[in-house]
Amino acid sequence: MSADLSDLEQRLTLMRENMKMMTKAVPWARDLGFEVTRIEKGRVWGSQPWDETLVGDPDTGVIHGGVITTLLDNLCGMSCSAILPDFRFVATLDLRIDYMRPADKGRAIIGEAECYHTTRTVCFTRAWAYHETRDKVIATAAGAFAINQPRPADKLESLA
């Protein structure tokens, strides 16, 4: 059975069923090793495990900020797909990251993204990176995404 991607509820179900695939199909995300862990309407959560190769400061073992940027950028984009009434590809216009505190060595980083407003052409998102709860954030992000207009090649069946 192929899901109707133009129906948000069906699309959310399909996204939940394919959470692992959502990052496996993206080489740079797969290489960093993060996974999508939860999807709600307009909200997506993910987890980035700690790994030696991601360290940005060899003296402390803290993961490089670029890893958090990739995680939050990706989750923000997915949060747009989890709220738009129609299935559309989105592209990051800009992204701002504020680093609040370094991540702990050896611990996974949880990312949470929310698409809080959409227009015909743009999605506005924000995101948080933390170990336990949003009360103690490692970094926050705010990003705007351009909604790509559908092209003839974007056949829904080929994506389902």
Partner: protein
């Protein structure tokens, strides 16, 4: 005259990139001439974010730009350790194609505690940047 004689900090910047696992994972290099540095990110399949359109992942580009900005600050200061980022804004201007990426960083203001830096990444033409970055770093007194 080697670049090292022109700027003894060059060796320290190269050593920093060589001993930083994430810079190695990205595969970035740098070419330093005096106080000028061009960073190079050779294309690799793992840097792709979208298979269908063969585009570089925005996260890979911004990681590269952040490291470039960080290295540039390290190059022109006498800091013992690379500067810590406070925040950054990334402007995705054009699609990054499946080819090598280059970047340069410019220090807008070097303060006693903070530095304001901008950086740009390009492919075929420097005048057509793929991505721009604005960042602030702690450079002392924290």
């Amino acid at each position: 005259m080697t670049p090292y004689e022109a700027n003894p900090r060059a060796a320290e910047v190269e050593a920093f990139l060589a001993r930083t696992p994430f810079a190695q994972k990205l595969g970035m290099r740098c070419d330093i001439r005096g106080d000028e540095m061009t960073a190079v990110l050779p294309f690799s399949k793992k840097l792709i974010g979208n298979f269908t359109i063969k585009a570089l992942h925005g996260g890979a580009i911004s990681s590269f730009l952040e490291l470039t900005a960080m290295a540039q600050v390290f190059l022109v200061t006498d800091l013992a350790r690379p500067p810590r980022p406070i925040n950054l804004t990334i402007d995705y201007l054009r699609q990054g194609h499946a080819k090598d990426l280059y970047a340069r960083a410019y220090i807008t203001k070097m303060g006693r505690r903070m530095a304001s830096v901008r950086a740009e990444a390009w492919q075929e033409e420097k005048s057509k940047p793929v991505t721009a970055l604005m960042a602030h770093f702690m450079v002392g007194g924290d």
